[in-house]
Structures are given as structure tokens and as C-alpha cells.
């Protein structure tokens, strides 16, 4: 009978990884937990984004380490059958693909499929003026062929604000301006980036189930509303706009 195993100790973790590598893995996981806990603090949005991806990187590093060290020597099997390597590399690969999709592909999809820029000079001038005040590049403005009043924005390679035609049907001029200010604030605060990043962290990191770290939607919406209220000097317009958007359904 062919001897299948090259060494009686081949199943031991220390021979698969090496004791030093186990220590590195534990250290990496500890850093991941620490970064997650730091997210609960009041850091800026940019810092939080780095912390999220830092957490995920340190969380997945042991898997990459396992993949790199799980060589063909284990079980004397052919390298082509090394499913452990595939799975271990697939996890960070999927994470990277999700991040790319959320931060670049989806915004590009909306930008390319909209194909209709807003031509209204009043809207364009309003956005340009307030973008300059907020010290951000003037975002592109697109109209979506939908009756439901809706607005959203992305901060990607080129920032963009999307408004449905329904918004212009249903909202007053001041309410539309409130919505535009709200979206400009989102772009300034990188809200789309942190929302996508938080969603990715919740999907890929089981630790986020235990540690409540960032209510992305709530905090970002509050900040954007505050900017609109502060600029217009009243909360009436943003409140009415939101009420009308909800009433449409």
C-alpha cells in the first residue's frame, strides 16, 4: 500500500504554520480587534475609512499567511488539489472585488447609464456655488428618469449627484435646494465611501456582529441634514422634502 503521508507529524499546526507564524496570526487578529474598537471613537470620516480597511486587512492576513504556508508538502498531495489555498486567497480576493465594485464600478455604472446631465442653469449654479464654499470640486449633475422623488450622490473618481425627474415635479425650489445641500454635504464627508465600506465590513467581518462600531446611515444623514439646515437657516425645507419623498410610496 502506498504511503500517503510523508511525516507522522504532518497534521500538527506547528509544522503547517510554524510557531512564529501562529504568533503573527494572533497578533494580526488582535490588531484587527483593536482597530474595530477604535472605530467607536469620534474620528473623522477619512480616518474611519482607513480603520475599516485596516481592520479587514489584519483580519484576513492570517488567512493569506495560511495560504502561503499551506504548501504541497501537506498530505503529499498534488499542488493542483490544494483547495485550502484557493479558499484562503478567495476571501481577501472577494473583499478586494467588493470594495472595487462599491467604490468605483457601481458609481461608474450609474454615471454611464444616466446619460442625461441636468441642464437647468439655476440648479448648476447653485451646486457650483455651494461646492466652492465647501471646498470640493463641483460634482456632475444627472437626472434619472423616475417619477419617485429621489436623490443620491457618489464620491468616486468624479463625484456626482443624481436627482430624479420626480423631484422637480413635487418639491418646491427651496426644498430642491435643501436636497442639493444635503447631497453636497454627503460628498464633502465621503458618505458614500463610508457607507459602502461599513457594509463590506459587516459582510466580511464576523466581529462587527459583536462590536457595534458605526451607524453609517444614521450619522451621515444627520450630518448632511445639519449642513442643509445651517445653510438655509431653517429645518422646514429639508423636513418637507423628506416628508414628500416618503409620501410618494
Amino acid at each position: 500500500m502506498e504511503v500517503l503521508f510523508s511525516s507522522p507529524t504532518c497534521f500538527s499546526a506547528s509544522t503547517i504554520l510554524g510557531v512564529d507564524k501562529i504568533a503573527i496570526a494572533i497578533f494580526s487578529l488582535s490588531i484587527a480587534v483593536l482597530l474595530l474598537l477604535l472605530l467607536r471613537r469620534g474620528f473623522s470620516t477619512k480616518s474611519k475609512i482607513f480603520l475599516i480597511y485596516g481592520h479587514l486587512a489584519f483580519l484576513f492576513f492570517p488567512f493569506v499567511l495560511l495560504a502561503a504556508n499551506t504548501g504541497c508538502g501537506t498530505l503529499s498531495m498534488s499542488c493542483h488539489n490544494n483547495y485550502q489555498q484557493l479558499i484562503a486567497y478567495a476571501l481577501p480576493g472577494t473583499l478586494a472585488a467588493s470594495a472595487l465594485a462599491g467604490l468605483f464600478v457601481i458609481p461608474a455604472f450609474y454615471t454611464l447609464s444616466s446619460r442625461r446631465e441636468i441642464k437647468s442653469s439655476h440648479v448648476r449654479n447653485f451646486v457650483r456655488r455651494h461646492s466652492t464654499t465647501m471646498n470640493i470640486k463641483t460634482p456632475k449633475l444627472y437626472v434619472i428618469d423616475k417619477a419617485k422623488p429621489m436623490a443620491f450622490s457618489f464620491r468616486s473618481l468624479r463625484s456626482a449627484i443624481f436627482l430624479s425627474a420626480g423631484i422637480f415635479d413635487v418639491l418646491t425650489k427651496k426644498e430642491i435646494e435643501a436636497i442639493l445641500l444635503h447631497e453636497i454635504a454627503h460628498i464633502k464627508h465621503h458618505s458614500s465611501v463610508i457607507k459602502v465600506s461599513t457594509a463590506i465590513a459587516r459582510i466580511f467581518s464576523p466581529l462587527t456582529l459583536i462590536v457595534r462600531f458605526h451607524d453609517a446611515s444614521g450619522i451621515e444623514e444627520e450630518k448632511a441634514d445639519k449642513f442643509a439646515i445651517k445653510t438655509q437657516g431653517t429645518s422646514r425645507h429639508i423636513r418637507n422634502a423628506k416628508r414628500k419623498v416618503e409620501a410618494f410610496d
Partner: protein, 127 residues
């Protein structure tokens, strides 16, 4: 062609539409030119209490039913919809009657056919 999924009968509605849908269409049929949501709302609110968002919802539903068409128009305040009737009143009524009768015959067969015969005979005798 309007697709009939449910039949409602009443004094105000046009058979397959809600009362508000009927009211909106009646306004649009009187003047088949293009309409903005706000224009229909300002005409309608003289007769009944209705919110602007309700009119927008109704027009969206009529568009989904292919009874009205819409296109985006550029204005000073932004880009808004202009709605037009795709089906005139007579054609719409014709479609409703055809679909309703077809459905009755499909569901009730001879019972429906016999009733129609009796009814037409009565109407003929009555002059």
C-alpha cells in the same frame, strides 16, 4: 392597450381606474395638450382635496398602465415631466368594454352570452 386586471364599477370611475385616476384622466382628455404634474394638481384641487404627491403617484401609475406618456422637459427650475394622453377617451372606453366582455365570456361562458342576447333583445323591443 390598457390591460385590465380588476374591474370596479361606480358613478365616478371609468371602470378599471380608481376615482382619482379617473379624475386625472378626465382633466387630461378635456385638453389633450401636455400637462405638468403641478398643472393637473392646481386644476384638480378646485374640485377635491388632493396632495401634489398623490397626483404625481397617479400619473406614474397611469404611465405604467400605458394610458399616458411622459418625457423629461428642461425648465428653469430643473428637469420635470410633461405628461400626455396616449389613449383618447373613446378608445379607452372601447378597450375597457372589449376586455370586460371578453373576461366575462371567458369566465362565465354561455351564461354571459345568453345574458347579452337577452339584454340586446330587450333593448331592441324597448326601441
Amino acid at each position: 392597450m390598457a390591460y385590465v386586471t380588476r374591474i370596479r364599477f361606480g358613478k365616478r370611475n371609468l371602470g378599471v381606474l380608481s376615482p382619482l385616476e379617473s379624475d386625472v384622466l378626465k382633466i387630461m382628455w378635456k385638453n389633450p395638450d401636455s400637462w405638468r404634474v403641478r398643472d393637473i394638481h392646481s386644476t384638480l384641487k378646485k374640485r377635491r382635496k388632493v396632495a401634489l404627491t398623490s397626483v404625481a403617484v397617479i400619473l406614474d401609475r397611469l404611465h405604467a398602465k400605458k394610458i399616458v406618456t411622459r418625457k423629461i422637459n428642461i425648465g428653469r427650475g430643473g428637469e420635470y415631466y410633461i405628461y400626455s394622453c396616449q389613449v383618447c377617451k373613446e378608445d379607452f372606453q372601447q378597450t375597457v368594454v372589449e376586455k370586460t366582455v371578453d373576461k366575462l365570456i371567458d369566465n362565465f361562458g354561455d351564461v354571459a352570452v345568453n345574458y347579452f342576447n337577452e339584454r340586446f333583445s330587450k333593448d331592441k323591443k324597448g326601441g
